[in-house]
Amino acid sequence: MVKICTANEAVKDISEGMCIMIGGFLGVGTPDGLVQALVEKGTKNLTVITNDSAFPGVGVGKLQDNKQMSTLYTSYIGGHPESGRCMEEGELKIVLTPQGTLAEQIRAGGSGLGGVLTPTGVGTVVEEGKSKIVVADKTYLLEEPLKADFALLKAYKADCHGNLIYRFSARNFNPLMAMAAKNVIVEVEEVVAAGAIEPDNVITPGIFVDLLVKGR
């Protein structure tokens, strides 16, 4: 059985300087209750790994509004003008990474891999400072794995063992991040009985999940 608690209890051990992965794509599939709890807790100096900084007042955008991040690994900040301004003025270190590369870095982090070789970014600024490896006459960049202290995720339903299913495009980075963090907290719309999700339909195995939080 996975413990179910409130959002505020769930984020209590997140402290200054920690690295956190947060699921979502422009706010869809982001655990809004957990992000709100983190905003209320006010923890600063966080390193956040997430696809995008969403929009002002939406999803991960709230951590940008509240200036709680010191480093952001992401693929897109175009929805939140403040992210761009903070990057320009050096208030926030932003590591911009192609979206597919970011997904693979997280997958590698959770899969025990030393990184991945991708052709994406060869011949662009993305290759700066990275090893280039040629395999069968094609050049790839070595992209290193990413891991985190906490993952804050959103799923549609969990059973009481933490097995997860998602809805439509709200899945995005959530299943990948579930594998790549030491502590995995998942906000779900509903917790159902054991067996209510067919084993064949489980997307994220419950063994990755540490805490469940009821959200919307």
């Binding site: 869809v28 897109y76 192609p98 979206q99 597919g100 997958r107 994406t120 439509f168 495009s169």
Partner: protein, 216 residues
């Protein structure tokens, strides 16, 4: 005819029945409205599903179902959902037949710049770099020149690249240009323009034989 509609209609002619296609945000999304009779394509959304359907009426919008621009969409009967690693495996693995994107600059080598302008606020590359490296055919759909008249089709890109030597076809309001090893081949011009006007509006060498140029 509106320039954007003209470009979208011409791009639509490049798509074949059964193709898996990723349409970039903005004008490329119009292409889906102009498919030839009997042509049905599968639209890929990089936030994690295949089978993008039409925009829903606002009261039917589903909070978990948006396109890569964050706009509500529907999913078709043949659709399926997956996580971001799978989504980009589909892209990078060569399972997308065609992607259609806009550009800031394209050059004679098929290099593309469409993600940043030094000195201007940065948005991030999102999924663009993976799409341009991974899809089998890359079509650039854009107005021939910038609003101020400066050229977008150039000898050599001066802006930071999105990808190197990946563009296959450039479709503008004035012309259709195929990118080949030896340079840019002008294959069609719009019905209301002349060869001289196209050449004058292009900042790169165009290869053509006057007798073989078709009108669109």
């Amino acid at each position: 005819m509106d320039k954007r509609v003209r470009i979208a209609k011409r791009v639509a002619k490049e798509l074949h029945d059964g193709d898996v296609v990723n349409l970039g945000i903005g004008m490329p999304t119009l292409v889906a409205n102009y498919l030839s009779h009997g042509v049905s394509i599968v639209l890929h959304s990089e936030n994690g599903f295949l089978g993008i359907g039409p925009e829903p009426q606002s009261e039917l919008a589903d909070k978990d179902l948006v396109n890569a621009g964050g706009k509500p969409v529907t999913i078709q009967e043949n659709g399926c959902c997956f996580d971001s690693a799978m989504s980009f495996a589909i892209i990078r693995g060569g399972h997308v037949d065609t992607t259609v994107l806009g550009a800031l600059e394209v050059d004679e080598q098929g290099n593309l710049a469409n993600w940043m302008v030094p000195g201007k606020r940065i948005s991030g590359m999102g999924g663009a770099m993976d799409l341009v490296v991974g899809a089998k055919k890359i079509i650039i759909a854009m107005e021939h020149n910038n609003k101020d008249g400066t050229v977008k089709i150039v000898k050599q890109c001066s802006l930071p690249l999105t990808a190197q030597a990946e563009v296959d076809l450039i479709i503008t309001d004035m012309a259709v240009i195929a990118v080949q090893k030896d340079g840019l081949h002008l294959i069609e011009i719009a019905e209301d323009t002349t060869l001289e006007e196209v050449v004058a509006a292009t900042g790169a060498q165009l290869i053509f034989s006057e007798d073989n140029i078709r009108i669109f």
